[in-house]
């Protein structure tokens, strides 16, 4: 198709007419890319994108080049439109070789832009996620905890790069396998590490919904007897004579509970 339709236009117009038409298309391309640039700019701004990306390293790098994330994205969109116009015009005027090269370039352009967008979005989302996670972990004053936000960030970068490479047609099978192994390892580690917590949590949900015992009841779990002071997702607090037992809820299930009624 793509090779056919310039021929159609050329047969409608004369040789000169086609040249004039291609010049006109070039101008239209300039106008169109300008409009696209303005609309994306306005759209992104009104969607609150510029506020959302404020402070991320990508935005800061963009600022140091005298532009912004919104600017870069809208410029890419404008360039896309303009390159498209140039390709159409060149094809029409038959300046270059009207063979497969242009057709393939046109076919390749969208993936190139999708790849660029995927990279930009990945960089920004990664940084944002890192900020968010480190904000959450701020109350934990543990130096080792600072590795978690970095892990989250680079995981997202990795996925973004995978998408971008996939768009460009690079063979990514090995990388996908690596990602799967990585995700599997995280799930396994989480399961093993949080096994007791998960069991306590499941028991805690039952305890909170059914309330077989509640705050103020006198109970005995294993050998710990006292008044229930607090029941939450993971633990039950039992107090007697200035001693407070923090019993994991899973224990309430495995060994049962004795309610003591006077």
């Amino acid at each position: 198709m793509q090779i056919e339709w310039p021929e159609v236009i050329r047969s409608i117009f004369s040789e000169r007419g086609a040249f004039a038409a291609s010049i006109a298309i070039l101008f239209l391309g300039v106008l169109g890319s300008y409009l696209v640039w303005r609309w994306t700019h306005r759209l992104l701004r009104s969607a609150g994108v510029s506020d959302a990306v404020e402070g991320t390293p990508f935005e800061r790098t963009a600022r140091s080049f005298g532009t912004s994330t919104v600017g870069i994205v809208s410029t890419i969109a404008a360039v896309f439109v303009y390159v498209l116009a140039i390709v159409v015009a060149v094809n029409l005027a038959q300046l270059g070789n009207p063979d497969l090269f242009w057709a393939r370039l046109v076919g390749f352009l969208p993936s190139l832009f999708v790849a660029a967008f995927a990279l930009i979005i990945g960089l920004i989302v990664g940084d944002k996620a890192k900020l968010h996670v480190s904000e959450r972990l701020r109350s934990i004053k543990l130096p080792e905890a600072s590795i978690i936000p970095e892990l989250v960030k680079y995981s997202i970068f990795y996925v973004a790069i995978l998408i971008a490479l996939g768009q460009l047609g690079v063979e990514t099978m090995a990388l996908v396998v690596l990602l799967a192994v990585y995700a599997f390892a995280i799930v396994v580690v989480a399961l093993v590490a949080f096994w007791d917590l998960l069991r306590s949590g499941a028991a805690g949900i039952y305890l909170l919904l059914q309330e077989p015992y509640s705050i103020g009841d006198r109970v005995r779990i294993d050998d710990n007897e006292g008044i229930v002071q607090e029941v939450d997702m993971f633990t039950t607090r039992i107090e007697s004579d200035g001693e407070e037992y923090v019993v994991p809820n899973q224990k309430v299930f495995s060994s049962g509970i004795v309610r003591i009624r006077e």
Partner: protein
């Protein structure tokens, strides 16, 4: 204005430490280096010596009292230190200079009430806010009274009995949840106390407290609600926050003693 300058110089002379109440960043940095204690709701300036205010006390005397007691408790200043306090009363910037001795007023325990109670400080603050809110608006324009017993809920439940069905049975509402203000306002119409656990869960409403009232020393003229509040805090490790129906003040009790008195209208 040499007289004024002299007076101010004399006022801040030989102070052992400076108490900054909710300072701005630049403000803090110009004073950093001296013995500075920052007293604010949030540690925005990342000061080393920091006392957390549970709420912005409108009354300067309450604010200074809380801050100074906190600073002494933390060991930032000595118990007999001379302190200069910079605070904001009217505007957004510090506009007031006050000089106090740390042992000038007898220890009221207002800092102790928040920091060293069984319940978490944020829970106590939330309950105080609910009480203040209730005191301001009342129930449909009429003044209401309320009694909140916070912390040590297990023991409090054993020293009280239900007056009616407990509306909070099998519910998991915590003070500070957005719906809570409305619920408490509705339930405050009926008599009895609210029991709130250490972590802020509302355990019960309509509780009739049955502590022994021996040796409870509260100001004369306060009613049965205050007496019950004072007595229950003596018998258990809980604290009690009372909204008075007659004079509309919010009072906090701990260990059988009146610790704090707030006027809801001032907030």
């Amino acid at each position: 204005m040499t007289g004024l300058d002299e007076f101010l110089e004399e006022l801040v002379a030989d102070a052992d430490a400076v108490c900054l109440f909710s300072p701005g960043k630049s403000h803090y940095e110009t004073l950093a280096g001296d013995d500075v204690v920052v007293i604010a709701t949030d540690n925005d300036v990342e000061a080393d010596a920091f006392v957390k205010l549970p709420l912005e006390f409108q009354d300067l005397r309450d604010r200074i009292r809380f801050g100074v007691e906190g600073a002494v408790e933390h060991g930032y200043v000595d118990a007999d230190a001379d302190l200069v306090c910079l605070a904001k009363v009217f505007g957004e910037d510090a506009d007031t200079v006050a000089r106090v001795r740390a042992d000038e007023f007898e220890k009221s325990g207002v800092y102790d009430l928040f920091a060293n109670s069984r319940a978490e400080p944020s829970v106590i603050r939330d309950v105080l806010e609910v009480a203040v809110e209730l005191g301001k608006k009342g129930q449909k324009g009429k003044p209401v009274g309320a009694l909140f017993v916070v912390g040590d809920a297990g023991k409090v439940m054993n020293k009280s009995r239900p007056l009616s069905y407990n509306p909070f049975e099998k519910s998991h509402v915590h003070v500070g949840d957005p719906i809570v203000n409305v619920m408490l306002k509705e339930f405050s119409r009926l008599d009895g106390a609210f029991v709130i656990s250490d972590s802020g869960k509302i355990v019960s409403a309509y509780r009739y407290l049955e502590p022994s009232a021996e040796g409870v020393d509260i100001p004369k003229g306060l009613g049965a609600r205050h007496m019950a509040a004072g007595a229950v805090t003596r018998d258990t490790n809980a604290i009690a926050i009372v909204l008075s129906e007659s004079d509309g003040l919010v009072r906090a009790f701990k260990a059988g003693e009146l610790i704090l008195e707030l006027d809801p209208e001032a907030y």
